[in-house]
Structure formats: C-alpha cells, structure tokens
Symmetry: C2
C-alpha cells in the first residue's frame, strides 16, 4: 500500500488523511498540537499520529518522515512554519512534497524552497462558488483547457419539450451532448437523439467556451 505523511491536522490535513486512510493507504499524521494528534487517532483518520514540531529537522528524522515518498504540508496560517518545513523535507531528499498555500506570496515562497505541488484550497473553492453564483444555470464545470470545457447546465426554458435531434446542438451551437439527468440522482450517458428534454432536468455538454456562452441560459 502507498505511504503518506501529513504535517498539520487542520481541516484540510484531516480531510486528506481521512480520505487516504479510507482508501487503504498507510497514513502518518503529525501536528504540533497534542490534542489534534490524539483526536486523529480517536477518529481513526490515520494509521499513526505523532506530536512534533516540523520546523525541527531532527524531529522529522526521528519520526521517520524522511523515509516517505510523498509528504503533504497542510499548514496554512503559519507561513514561516510551512516554508521551513517544506525546505527541511526537500533538503532531506523527500521525493514529492505537496504544500497548501494561503496566499499568492505564500505559494511563491513554497515554489522557491522546492515544493513539488502547491494547492490553494480556499482560493479555488471561493472562485468555484463565485462562478456558480454568477451563472446560476451552470451547475458544474470541468475546464479542459483555456478554450474548452465540459459543463453541466439546467435545461433552458427554450429547450423544454424538444428532442435532442430537434435542437441540433452540434449544428447550431457546435456543442455535443454527453449526458442527460433523469432526476436529481442519475444521469443517462450518450442519450438517444429522440430523447425529449424537460425544464428542471440537467444536461452535460462539451465544446468551446465561446459556444457555451451562446447557450440561452
């Protein structure tokens, strides 16, 4: 099984640990705060958990953190601790260090000290929410490249009662329908052209962002 170490058991660190642990991975959780270490063991979100200060290289070495292929640094508000920890790990030869950043400058500093991947959980979630608020008809979005996406949209009023064939989405909009929701829970993949669309249902289409913007939503 894959081994992962997670430094920092805040909301993000706990979520990573718990998801990895439930997928059968070996997870070592660490935090400077003894209470959070004990909580991680009680909640069974990690195989092991150790209290340590990750800015101390000897503490990391004794806990065996340097033996891991992948270490996640989930320290957000304490920028200095996050940077020093990442540097400690890369200098000790840890192959992949993934660190969470709380700001653009934090991200730049992490890049400088050798982080292999930087994630911005709050920033990405904030942008995603803003998108759903301004385009309420777009339920979800999967960006393929700067010009193309897959979007899940509420069936516009203009499409209500029409079949997929009648709508001629490819000819009129350059978009391809991938799936249509039957109800809240289930999608039908590659629906037949004679499938009639109803207001309140959702459909998933793929195409260029320019064409998606032309939909009457």
């Amino acid at each position: 099984a894959r081994h992962f170490a997670i430094i920092g058991l805040g909301r993000f660190g706990r979520a990573v640990a718990s998801a990895l642990h439930s997928m059968g991975c070996e997870v070592l959780g660490t935090d400077i705060n003894e209470k959070l270490v004990a909580q991680a063991l009680t909640d069974k979100i990690a195989s092991h958990a150790i209290q340590l200060d990750s800015t101390e290289p000897t503490a990391l070495k004794e806990a065996g953190i340097f033996e891991f292929d992948t270490v996640i640094v989930a320290i957000g508000n304490y920028v200095q601790e996050s940077i020093i920890t990442t540097l400690n790990l890369k200098e000790a030869g840890v192959k992949t260090v993934i660190a969470k950043a709380s700001s653009e400058i934090h991200g730049k500093l992490l890049d400088r000290v050798g982080a292999d991947q930087v994630v911005f959980p709050e920033y990405e979630a904030g942008c995603a929410l803003a998108h759903t608020l301004t385009k309420p008809a777009i339920l979800d979005r999967f960006d393929l490249d700067p010009d193309h996406s897959i979007v899940e949209i509420l069936i516009p009023a203009e499409f209500d009662g029409k079949t997929i064939a009648e709508l001629e989405l490819r000819r009129c909009y350059g978009l391809t329908i991938l799936a249509v929701s039957e109800n809240d829970q289930k999608f039908e993949i590659n629906p037949f052209p004679n499938r009639r669309l109803r207001k309140g249902m959702a459909m998933v289409v793929i195409g260029s962002n320019k064409d998606i913007k032309r939909l009457p939503i």
Copy 2:
C-alpha cells in the same frame, strides 16, 4: 448587475469577493477586523467594505445587508458567530444564505438555522487531493452521479501508438472518448477514430465508474 454581500474576509471570503468583483458584480465585503476591511478596499476586491460584528442584527440592518438577495457567510473557525449570523440573516428575510462550514456538526447547525447552501472548502479540496494521490494516472475527475464520471487520464502504456479505432474503447470498456490532449495546453474535442495515441498525452473519457476502474492505469 447582481449584488452580493460577503461576511468574513478570510482566505475563502476574499476569494469569493475578488472573483465576483472581477466578473462585474456589486460586492459589499464585511468583517469584524478593521484591518481586513481596509485591505479589501486597497486590493480592490470589493466595491464597498464595512467593519461590523455580524452577530449584531442592528449592525447588519444599518449596513443594508438585509436588502441583499444573496449573502455569503465565510466565517469558519468561529462556529457560534457563523451560526448566529446565518440565523440573523434568515430571520430578516434574506432570500439566499450560503455559509462555509468547518466540520460536519457545523454544517448540521447551519442547516438547522436555515442556511440555503453549505460549502466545505477544506474538506472538498482534501478529498480531491487524496484522489489524485492514490490514482496518479487520473489527472482530474468530474462526478456525474454516484455511478458515472468523466475522467481525464494519462494515456496508459498499453495504449501507446494505437489509434482510437484500434482500441475499441466502447466495445471493450463501455467508455466513450471525449477529447485528447495535443500537449499540455490544448485539447482536441471529439477526435477522429484514426487519431493515434501517445504515452504522455492525456485523454478524457465518460462512462460508469465500474468501467473506468477496469482501465489499465
């Protein structure tokens, strides 16, 4: 233009404000911390920003927050403040209140006081990272329903040098290819069957999760 009020200008609140503001919406940002209010104005992430304590209904009324259709409560660590604020807003008749939660129990309390939508930014980002760590070949995932997804995957070694037609993905795996990457930046939508796949490229497929798990990745 649409109007939005955001209570709490931490990382998440700022990201929502800044994204909405850059899309041309009217944004009012508030926080109990005067420094964060001043920072929001300097960084131009909102049209207006006011210092207030959102647990005080009169402060919310005087700031005009009750006139907004949609208010985002971006207070995470202070659960009591988040809950009281949400209750104040719903009792005053605000149509849509979206609140950020830091734990499952926080989410349940927000539901109880009438939040229209609850988001878990750190939890969702943690799970997403865990998925990419355990299935490194799956670059990105778009969940359609519990049984079906769209996934972007690295072309497996077994598919290297073969054309889409030769692979017979629909017959052998029940999956449909939607797009193939030409390089890091650009995807080709609905590629021709004679397109040859190369290791290192990525492809996007749609189908059932059972079939996706059968891919040699």
